[in-house]
Symmetry: D2
Subunit: 326 residues, 4 copies
Amino acid sequence: MINVRTDLAIEAREMYIKKHNRNKEIDGVIVEEEQEGDIKFSTVKIKDEEGAKKIGKPIGNYITIDIPEFTVYDGGIMDSVANVLAKVLERLIHVDEKKTALVVGLGNWQVTPDALGPKVVEKIMVTRHLQVVMPEAIDESVRPVCAIAPGVLGITGIETGEIIKSLVEKVKPDLVICIDALASRRVERVNRTIQISDTGISPGAGVGNNRKEISEKSLGVKVIAIGVPTVVDAATIANDSIDLVIDELISKVSSGKEFYNMLKDIDRNEKESLIKEVLSANVGELIVAPKEVDMIIEALSKIIANGINMSLQPNMDMEDINKFLS
Amino acid sequence: MINVRTDLAIEAREMYIKKHNRNKEIDGVIVEEEQEGDIKFSTVKIKDEEGAKKIGKPIGNYITIDIPEFTVYDGGIMDSVANVLAKVLERLIHVDEKKTALVVGLGNWQVTPDALGPKVVEKIMVTRHLQVVMPEAIDESVRPVCAIAPGVLGITGIETGEIIKSLVEKVKPDLVICIDALASRRVERVNRTIQISDTGISPGAGVGNNRKEISEKSLGVKVIAIGVPTVVDAATIANDSIDLVIDELISKVSSGKEFYNMLKDIDRNEKESLIKEVLSANVGELIVAPKEVDMIIEALSKIIANGINMSLQPNMDMEDINKFLS
Amino acid sequence: MINVRTDLAIEAREMYIKKHNRNKEIDGVIVEEEQEGDIKFSTVKIKDEEGAKKIGKPIGNYITIDIPEFTVYDGGIMDSVANVLAKVLERLIHVDEKKTALVVGLGNWQVTPDALGPKVVEKIMVTRHLQVVMPEAIDESVRPVCAIAPGVLGITGIETGEIIKSLVEKVKPDLVICIDALASRRVERVNRTIQISDTGISPGAGVGNNRKEISEKSLGVKVIAIGVPTVVDAATIANDSIDLVIDELISKVSSGKEFYNMLKDIDRNEKESLIKEVLSANVGELIVAPKEVDMIIEALSKIIANGINMSLQPNMDMEDINKFLS
Amino acid sequence: MINVRTDLAIEAREMYIKKHNRNKEIDGVIVEEEQEGDIKFSTVKIKDEEGAKKIGKPIGNYITIDIPEFTVYDGGIMDSVANVLAKVLERLIHVDEKKTALVVGLGNWQVTPDALGPKVVEKIMVTRHLQVVMPEAIDESVRPVCAIAPGVLGITGIETGEIIKSLVEKVKPDLVICIDALASRRVERVNRTIQISDTGISPGAGVGNNRKEISEKSLGVKVIAIGVPTVVDAATIANDSIDLVIDELISKVSSGKEFYNMLKDIDRNEKESLIKEVLSANVGELIVAPKEVDMIIEALSKIIANGINMSLQPNMDMEDINKFLS
């Protein structure tokens, strides 16, 4: 079956509402829109098990920041987004400013659209070791921060959750922040949306998601997840194209008629084999991404690292942080 | 209109035959299949203006090597393909072995699937300067070879054909070999086909092809082109998916009926807006490529550089060439 | 003989003054110091053939900008240096703002400390092609700019000067700006100095400099050169260390004595073989560079590209340029 | 004090012998030379505490493979070295072929000469996860192998030894193989020597070595270390140059005389300030490496990964391993 999983709560909610033709909010779910300067962001609050079941995500908060049509060179917009990200993170981090944070960059640094997490880690202001190595370089107001890019299962042979769990047991942080590149269901969200949640990373309800849980439940410590959709599966494009034609045709014929049933039939039984025919299954995993993906991932990793650095060091401003990083 | 251009003569021929429901070869065109060990290759020979017009490519020879389902690590298959490529090139290069060759790597080295040409150039055995700089290092049997990766219009502001023409006038080579990453119409050809032609690179008959001609006509010297399709346009995937559904439906209804006409109508008038809806036009150029594109392009560039090096230096074997390159 | 060549006029002048124990300025040479905010820069003006002969550089202006102890992350200092660079370039560019400029990034993009030129080219605002491709995107006030990174002799087999000359004849720019990574004589200048000159790039008076001239004389069009020393030759470190010990010892003994003569003797006759012993000549070219050379070259290329972009487009501010580049 | 530490046992032994003017082997130490085809390798066996103290390395075996003057393209020599490495590793690995191995790539992947370990990890045949994910892909004869590149303290804020220890406790391997880029004392060993030892990585006797121990003692499991010197510290070049001059001069004057004492005095008291003057301390860590360091590190990582893969999978040949890696 074609994977219609999405990693974004806001998309899962849209899909549920569309599928059930609802004209009001899902029970157990609250959605709020906010704006800060030019930057819009919305919060999907899943309040109870009913909402969680319908959306297919755990109870918690999912904030989605929309990145305006931006350019990888436009420092002004990048700073605005980083500031909103810092503000959103501060709302979710209720951990004393002296407590240790571990930043985890998930993904494979050899595959550009999957390298977002490792690239953020490179830009994090790491301080945990300084109290030992050069205590004179930092004062008490600096939070101890450490970071790791553990790699992916296919390269390490070790479940990523295992690596993180073993490290959490050794380092004993009070907060874990995970960054991950996501797959989106919709082309227009690619590299344009940042989702922040306080539920960690959990195995989706959908098919094909073999990631293990990285959450407060599995690690015993608060976990905040930051994700950006950086690709769309090529099968999704094929699937959406077929849906669109069928929907278009269905809208033109009366239900119950011969054509109508033929169309419904394709929808149910033949779609997957049509998609396979388009994609000629033997070529391995095909992904859809913008041509300039290298530059875009670099810019996004800067935005996210800046946002994290500001939120983790409430006693420093961006200038201090940059001096430190040099 | 959706671009149905293909850079591959073999695809253009397939499309013509399919469109016109031919059951015999196109007039003015000869196709021959050959095999060398495990490697299959076929030659499309366009013999006259009639064939050229139908296929939309200039008169000449177009050889297509099929790369077997290969792995980027399998040195054995890589060597076999390089050997076949060398053999094919030798058939087309009728230039005395002392005469100078210029190898041109087209494409943008910052965009991985477009970096094939520049990556080949890095691996070419370049010898033209040695007669001056260190004449003792080479003997008479070595052909003078030079190479350049001129960049792309968007980065240089200079039409690539202009750069090459100015260089050809200065260096006066007897042979130009161009390497370029192509777009394919079909997913299964991506990174699996090498096309070699003796017609140079010419503006396609299709829409959207704004490349200037790089050919014997424009440069005044023999031009051989080597191309590998490395991406499919995301719009092609959407387009093919829609075609497939409509074809499937058309095959089930009688022509002339209401639904039949509705389908034909979509085919003609609505397809493009459906595709735009799927791809939400505002995100820039979307391309479809395998996830491991970096490793694959590196392997392909090695195969092609080896093939070129062997064909240009008929008096050296691979071992001598490798020693030289070190 | 050990190469004591320097690409920097300011170093050549220092070396001359030191060697000849001068206590006043060299005849035919004027030196001026200036400051702009935190950024110091000095101009060595070689006024006549006498000055040119003594310093070993052609008649013309050589401006040296000192980069303050900077961090690759400190955007503020980077902007200040780019602004001073723009100002200095504007003094030297007396070419009408509508006339075409060609920016040339010299060096090898595969060797990090030599990749400065190609990396600047990637960030140049290129406009020359737009009057043809999309005339509506630019107005008349934009100067036509094109750019190329021609590669190095060992990779192309073509003398770089030949490539540029052929391109200048084709494109007919009114101004050429070359960017090159230089070798320094002194460790403390590495990545800390930008030299701008209006004399182009000329074969140095010293040994080992086989670069061909790229100048108004060779190209027939005004040439401005921008250079940054990014490495020191390992032999220079060895040489300087030996000099320092010998100087130290000489300062302690009386001239004419046995030991004094022994020291002078080493200085003259044995130094080179000592250096070869330290460097065990067989390992190829050894260079000395900071460990973080990748990040530093990236930052420098941004500074220089910004400076060039601002100076070439006097009717646009940085924000407009960035929007354009996106 | 200038750091005269070396990571190579063979160099430490040479330095001891030279310093003490010994003309026979150090007590407690055995040295054996071997040759396999063109490849020479030697074993320094430290047998007891006396030998360990003199050489400044723990009791154990240190094998040094000399890489012949090789070229990064010469596949033949690369294969020969990989084969010798596999053979040497097999001598040291006395762990049942079904038992799990963990390969650890130490170093910073952003700094080319330090990226050797992470680059080896990318090429390791990782199998541990397959028994769960796709048990049909492997048979019983395949050893479970996992791998990690944990990063460096400055980027993670976590002592590398801590990360590895926490992972060893979780994964419980029976063997750990660490790969690390070393600093050499001698330019001619750079990228030309592979040291394999069964003592793990231990804090050197010298100054400036703040690496924590990664050994059987600290991890509770057998540890094999593979190291290649990839840089020389610039201070070493300066130091060696000064030593050489002073040695040269000392050899020419009689001991006890005024000059002799002056020279000894410089040796003891002034050397460090002379070195600092040459290197002008403020520029950060300067390293000496060959210009083509990127290509060389890539080639070395392939050799080492091949050697490890063959030694860990005694039931597979290189062809099987390559097929698997694809």
